[in-house]
Structure formats: C-alpha cells, structure tokens
C-alpha cells in the first residue's frame, strides 16, 4: 500500500461524474427512504408522519393480527409451490426446447407471451376462466359432464391454488427463456465427451449440466423469489384477498393500513418486515454470487 494516491480518485473522471446522479438517487431515494420507513415504523404515526416513538408496539400489534399471520402463511405456501414449480417446469420446457426441435422460435414466442401481460390482466383472465358460471366448469357441464365441479376461487381451502395456476401460467415462460439461455451457454464439447463415455442423457443433465448452470439457477431463484414477496396485483385482480381473508398477502396489508386505515406506522412496520424477508433472500445470493468469485 502506497498510502493516498491522488491519481486513483481522478481516474475515469468522466465516468465517475456521470455516475453521481445515480449514486445520489440510490443513496437518497433507496437507502434514505428505507431508513426513514424503518425509523417511522417505531412511532405512532397515523395519517401524517410524526416522531412520537412507541418502541415495538406496531410490531407487536402486527404479529398478533390474524390477517397478517394468514398473509405470511399464504406467502410462504405460494412461494414454495411457485418456486418449485416455475423452476422445475421452466427447466423441463427449456430442455425440451433444446432438443433441436422444429418451430422452436414459434414455441418460444408462445411460451413467453403470458409474461408480456401484466399481472392485472392475468388475474382478471384467470378469474373468469376459473369462475364456475363462465369458465372451465361451465364448458365441461355444457359438454354433458354434469358431475364436473371446479370452483377453486370461492373455497378458502383451494383459493391459493387458483392463484398459483395463474402465477405459473404467467411466469414459467420467462424462467424457460433464462434456462434456455443457460443451456445454450454449455459447450458442445461437453455433450460430445459425455456421448463418448456412454453416459445416459438424463444423467448428463442432472450431474453435469445443472451444476454447470449454477449461476443461471441462482439468478432465476432471486428474480422469482423477489417477485413472490411483492405479490400484490395478481391477488387484487383475481380475488381481492378473498374469500374472507383466505388469499391475503403482505403487500396488500401494507397498502390497506397505510392508506385506507390511515395508520402509516402500522403499514411501515409491515413493509419493514417485508424488507427483512427480501434481505433474507438477497444476502445469501450476494454472498454466493460476489463472494464466490474470489475463490477462482
């Protein structure tokens, strides 16, 4: 170490000046806004923010509210199912797509189309498809299957699966594309070597390709997981959290309490808990992604 090096500070000076607005925005808007939210979650702010600290009172109330507990439970269930299914189905589709099939472009476009729709549209479309008076049940019954009954959205036990169907329909195409890009990045030589050694194709995928695609899987995991935590518009459009509180999610709780209940601090407390869960996802990822490189 040679102590202070004036040359280093001024190296790439143009790039550094160009980055100042973004750095400033990141610090003030993201970091500053986050800190502000966390600080005010310890107050008793109602409609307007005020600095009257009440300790952990908002958090105590939050964790004793049944709607919040149901929201967390829903999010965990939805999250586990959604992660497992989008990644498995997305990967399988990508593998099928990678078999040098005909019309690959057409299939890829069709698969990716749902991702181009917003969650609001997806939610409304699936609300109608799953509605017993217009959708699947109606079609099956008009075909003569009178015994057929399929009404997931109006049953508290099954409503999450109704959301999951819509979520998977929307998200798997995108995951498929990420995976396909990963598969295309694998060197052809590996396939040739495996063929020379006489290893079955599925073994090559499970033991060689998937470990080689680690970075793609981790990126996919982070994108899908952060999408799950901020799940909001799909639920609003498809069920509005009902029947009862059966399909509530944390982001809806935050919005309702900040704006409808005019209880900012309660909404801040809930959003701070959401931030915490995002950090739980992000920190291991950052560690794996950026910490791992140093070993190479």
């Amino acid at each position: 170490m040679a102590g202070f090096q004036p040359g280093r500070l001024f190296r790439n000076i143009n790039a550094k000046i160009a980055a100042i607005p973004m750095v400033f925005t990141a610090l003030v808007v993201f970091v500053g806004g986050t800190l502000w939210t966390v600080v005010y979650s310890f107050t008793d702010s109602k409609l307007l923010p005020r600095l009257n600290f009440v300790g952990f009172e908002q958090y105590e109330r939050l964790w004793s509210t049944s709607r919040w507990l149901v929201s967390i439970q829903n999010l965990m269930l939805y999250g586990v199912f959604s992660l497992v299914f989008t990644i498995t189905i997305g990967f399988l589709l990508a593998v099928l797509m990678d078999q040098k099939i005909r019309f690959e472009d057409a299939f890829r476009t069709v698969m990716l189309y749902p991702f181009a729709l917003s969650f609001i549209v997806t939610g409304l479309v699936w609300q109608w498809v799953l509605n017993p008076q217009f959708g699947i049940e109606h079609i099956a019954r008009s075909l003569g299957m009178d015994w057929f009954s399929f009404d997931p959205l109006n049953n508290p036990q099954t409503v999450l699966f109704g959301l999951l169907i819509a979520g998977l329909w929307q998200g798997t195409g995108f995951v498929m594309c990420l995976m396909l890009a990963g598969l295309r990045g694998i060197d052809e030589e590996i396939w040739k070597a495996a063929r020379v050694d006489g290893i079955p194709r599925w073994k090559v995928y499970v033991f060689i390709i998937i470990p080689m695609m680690r970075a793609v899987f981790i990126t996919t995991l982070v994108i899908v997981a952060s999408g799950i935590i901020r799940l909001y518009d799909l639920v609003v459009a498809q069920t509005s959290g009902g029947p009862g509180n059966a399909s509530q999610v944390p982001a809806m709780y935050v919005y309702d309490y900040m704006f409808q209940a005019q209880n900012l601090a309660q909404g801040f407390a809930a959003s701070s808990m959401m931030l915490l869960s995002v950090l739980i996802v992000l920190i291991p990822w950052a560690y794996l992604e950026f910490g791992g490189k140093k070993r190479v």
Partner: protein, 408 residues
Amino acid sequence: MKKFAVVAAMATAFLGSTAYATDLEVTHWWTSGGEAAAVAELAKAFDASGDHWIDGAIAGGGGTARPIMISRITGGDPMGATQFNHGQQALELVEAGLMLDLTDVAEENNWKEVVFPPSLLDACTVDGRIYCAPVNIHSPEWLWLSNKAYEDAGIPVPTNWNEFVETAPQLEAAGKIPLALGNQPWQSNLAFGAISIAVAGLDVWKQVNVEKNMDVAAGPEYAAVFQAVADARALAAKSTVQDWNQATNLVITDEAGGQIMGDWAQGEFQVAGEVAGEDYTCLPGLGLNAYLSTGGDAFYFPKLDDPEQEAAQKRLAALLVSPEVQVDFNLKKGSLPIRGDVDLSAANDCMKKGLELLASGNILPSGDMVWSPDVTKQNEDLMVEFWKSDMSPEDAHAQWVANLKSGL
C-alpha cells in the same frame, strides 16, 4: 395552474367584467350513473353563480380516491374542494392546519339552525370551528328484499329480520340464495353493523360506540349479535359475488331473497326499472329497530394561498348547503338532504321512509364519526373473515373488543 388562475382573476378585474369568476377544482369519487348525474347538478349550480367548477372525479371508490386526495393535500398540490365522508377521515388534515376554516360561512348562513340532524355539523367541527360542508345523508341499515323471490317460494315477504331468518330454509328449498353478500370487507362490516343495531338495540349500541363502554362490548348482548351473524353467514354461503352492486343484482334478478346494504342500493333498483313496494321491499333498521345512522358525504376545502380562490371556496360552501342545490342533488342521488326544511315530495317510497325516520329523530352517528379509520379497517378485516369462514363467534367477539380497544 395556480398562476393561470391568478392571471385570469387579474385580467377579469382589469377588464372590469363580473366581480368574480374563479376556477375551482373539485375532487370526488362519484362516478356511477346516478352519482355522476348528481354531481352535474352541483357543477351546474356553481357555474350559474358565476364561478367555474372543474370536475376532478376519481374512479374506483373512496378507498382508491382518498389516498390520492390526501397525498395531493399533504404533498402541496391542494385542490379547491374535495369530498370526504364526514367524520374522522379528514380529522388529521384539519388538525395539521391544512383545511380552510368555514365558521364564518356557517354563521352567515345559519348552518347551526338549518342543518338537521345537528350531528352532521358536529362531525364537521373540530375545537369549535367548522371545517366542512355536509351535502347528503346515507344510512347503511337497510334490508332489501325481492318480492318475486318470495312469491316463487310461495311465502309472504318478511317484515323484519327475524322473519327473514325463519323463512330462509323455505327460500333455499325453492332454489334461491337467502342472503346476497359481496366479498368486499366493508360489506361484511356493514352487515354486522346493521344486525347489531337490530339485535342488540339502540341503548347497547350507543353505550359501546358513543360512550365506548368496553364492558358492554364484551357482554352478553354483543355475544348474541355475534351468534346472530354466525347464523346469518350460513344464509350467505352461496353468494360468491365480489362487488355490492353485483349482490344487489342478485336481488333484482330474484335469484336472492335479500341483501343488507345502504340506501345507495336503491339507485340500482331504479336503474333496473323496479318499483318500490311492488318489485322490491325495503326495511330500514332491518324492520326491527328502525334507526338510521347518519353517515354521508361532505366537502372539505384545503387552504389555498390565493384570497380570490379562498373567497370562491366560501361561496361554494354556502352554495352546497343552500335549499335548491340540496333538493336537486339529493333527488338525483337518492340520498337524504342535510336540512329538514326542504321539500322532497318527488322522492320514492323508500326515500320517504328514510325521511320520516329522519324527521322523527330515530338517528345515530355513523361508524366513520365514532371510530377512526384504523379501527374501522381492523373491523372490516375481522368481519370478512368471520362471515366467510367458520371462525367461532366467541373468537370473533374477543377480537372485535380488542380492535375497539386499540382505538380508545
């Protein structure tokens, strides 16, 4: 915008034309057919008086509109006037000094004498000063029944809530849904409120909601209310619609026996061409305790820097309460006027029932007046869970008392 208004005001003054002509932007969430027609009456009257009404309708209901209005006021971009439900919704804005004091307008136009019931003006009053102009009264405690549905089942139309519950199995046997109830949380809370006044009675209701006596809230009278709601939720089990007007539509199309909903449901019956008394029956107070709570809408006026606009705001406030505007507006909207000295002979049967109750003084303050939005929201969350799941009445009762205590 503001600068333009100042320039425009100066220009008109300079040209020596009319004494005043000021633009005021008015935000509200009245967007359905009947509501929009009613707002048009207000705009017409304001334009005729020489000023100019700029309409700022926000679609999506109060839950969507209020956050937008509040962030505009707190964010330094206030409108000329804005709708709120009178009560505690705008209380903090008033306390923060963001709203115009209308006391001088109220005194000049004698609001204390003419506004009836006086509780409406009390809901506009903070520390002895008046901050809003009430425009109408809406009450949620109505049971709407389909005459045809009961005819189909071969039984007479019930005259109160108890008969409604007793005849429900016969209605169900005839293939009808006894009670229509939408999935939105506020509807569950509204139905609970109506049933609680009908079952527990006025005194108990007042002790809990006005005097805030939590021992009565936890007592046997309210336990009976929760039991009654638990019985009623079985009647609404097959009602799977989302919005209130879809539920009303089940009653209009005679698929459902009845619905507990506010007097705004009447507009839907009117649009569908149904006649009160012939096609549908309305029972205020569910036919048991004919009391109406006097919620409704009021206009608040955010503080503006420009004295010209402030004068226009005060002119608008006075205009909203004036008898002619009250009649035109409320006939279109199907709501009750806020003064007892106007003639509403054009009103229909159900509106007349409401007017009679109002005149006889069988009135209560509304939930928005006695509890903060925070408590109301917590209760909505609780009630939608209670109505739409198999939650036990005891658990719901205990949680409800805890919700009320959080607002003391």
